[in-house]
Amino acid sequence: MLYPKISKQNKRKLKDRIVNSVDNIIDVIIENLEYLINNKGSLLEVILIRFHI
């Protein structure tokens, strides 16, 4: 036996998916704010990284 038995997964409800998406957006905003605060001494570098094309 190379693989485990996988139990059937419950489908996620729409409400859960919306809550999850909102959580993700909040995470990204917090992460970006933290990033700017922690790296305020090197704002140029932050801009360079975040805005590279």
């Binding site: 990284i49 805005f51 094309i53």
Partner: protein, 424 residues
């Protein structure tokens, strides 16, 4: 202030996060089957120590304004028992930011890798180092000597940018491919079939037909699809198989990042009522001869690089790029029936061979390419794998039938209870 370690994604890697998700995971898996049960504690330490050497993979993905990029990851990787289907989308936010996932089950260690991190060759190098360290720690008290060799010198250069030729005209897709039909498994389920084939016997068969191993296996794949899906659904478009090509075989590069292209073999089977295996083999052979040449592969590579270098596209904000690339991906998927990845022979240092049973390579199937095929070999075994999201297993059964008809020794391993037999 400490300098921030970050790097851009390479030209191939940058498109994967734009179209990947639960439907298109862009994940491949390499597994090793050991002769003894896996010790999770030692495995975790081995992965952490390997990341010190392969710091290129100790990264997390972040969203910039125009592109995703990679930044140093200070968290520990999560190592857990296998509890899901292979090659599932790696939600990096739930994986401590990492773009790879190491799992284990009984004697088997798996590494699932998101393609933005590296390609098959880079993945193998990284995984081999984890295995070496694991076996060294596990066999510490035995007579096995400690390995002193260190990893080769790799760079993180974007070898696509360095080597693509602006003057080459990129290829255009002409005719869409036959898309496999049939009822699908439930969302998220992936069926896996491994054929552990006697390499000597397979090679002998390929040599008798005067073709390479990959050509022979590609022809077997086309024939299995033709007999069990194409004919039944009265297919008209050609069966097209996308074959990734390791560019390091053609262009010198020491990058550990992605450096691959692909060729698409196209077999038109609508000209007459019935095709034999030999006829299909010759059609496939002809395609290989025409397309497995440096100039053709460079054309495909150039096309891919050009899109990422196209300034109007580069300055589109990420969320809009995301939408565009999802549509582009849906269109691209119309041009391949399946993919056949061959990472070739996996060479392992002599003293570790006795601890290893076999290696496996798996590629994620998706809504477009409902089956994906992959090949790797170790010692005298070649493992051909089909991952499938279709309910029916007729293609797998036909493939098995061809092997049996040619007296090639084969052992089958699966992740479900379906019986692969001649009459299915």
């Amino acid at each position: 202030m400490e300098k921030i370690y970050w790097r851009k994604l390479d030209s191939s890697a940058k498109v994967f996060p734009l179209w990947s998700g639960k439907k298109y995971s862009s994940v491949f898996r390499i597994s090793v089957v050991l002769k003894e049960k896996v010790n999770p504690e030692i495995l975790k330490t081995s992965v952490i120590n390997t990341l010190d050497t392969y710091s290129e993979f100790k990264v997390k993905m972040k969203a910039g304004f125009f592109w995703y990029y990679l930044e140093k990851n200070n968290k520990e990787p999560i190592i857990q028992i296998e509890n899901d289907y292979p090659c599932k989308y790696i939600d990096y936010k739930k994986n401590n930011g990492y773009l790879f996932k190491v799992t284990y089950y009984r004697n088997k260690i798996n590494i699932d890798i998101f393609h933005s991190l590296t390609d098959g060759r880079g993945g193998i190098e990284f995984f081999k180092e984890i295995i070496y360290r694991y076996l060294e720690s596990k066999n510490k008290n035995s007579n096995q000597t400690i390995r002193y060799t260190q990893k080769e010198e790799y760079s993180t250069e974007d070898s696509y940018i360095k080597n693509y030729n602006k003057k080459i005209k990129s290829k255009r897709f002409i005719q869409s491919a036959y898309i496999l039909k049939g009822r699908k498994l439930e969302k998220g389920e992936i069926s896996t079939t491994h054929y552990v084939i006697n390499l000597k016997e397979l090679k002998k068969n390929a040599e008798e037909n005067d073709v390479s191993l990959t050509t022979y296996l590609a022809a077997m794949t086309v024939y299995s699809i033709y007999q069990t899906n194409y004919k039944i659904h009265s297919g008209k478009n050609p069966i097209k198989i996308c074959i990734p090509v390791d560019l390091k075989n053609y262009i010198k590069s020491n990058t550990i990042l992605n450096f691959f292209s692909y060729m698409t073999i196209s077999v038109n089977l609508s000209q007459k009522k019935e095709y034999t295996f030999d006829e299909i083999l010759r059609l496939v052979e002809k395609e290989f001869k025409q397309k497995l040449v440096k100039e053709e592969i460079e054309k495909t590579m150039t096309g891919n690089v050009k899109l990422g270098r196209f300034l109007p596209f580069r300055i589109i904000p990420l969320p809009i790029k995301y939408g565009i690339m999802r549509i582009v991906n849906k269109i691209i998927k119309l041009y391949a029936t399946t993919t056949l990845s061959n990472i070739g022979k996996i060479e392992v240092e002599e003293k570790y061979k006795e601890d290893i049973e076999e290696f496996l390579l798996l590629v994620a199937p998706d809504e477009g390419e409902k089956i994906k095929c992959s090949i790797c070999s170790f010692e005298n075994n070649l493992v051909y794998t089909i991952t499938n999201i279709l309910e029916g297993k007729e293609i797998e059964s036909k493939f098995f039938e061809i092997l049996e008809e040619n007296d090639i020794e084969v052992k089958i391993e699966r992740n479900d209870d379906y019986v692969i037999s001649k009459n299915k």
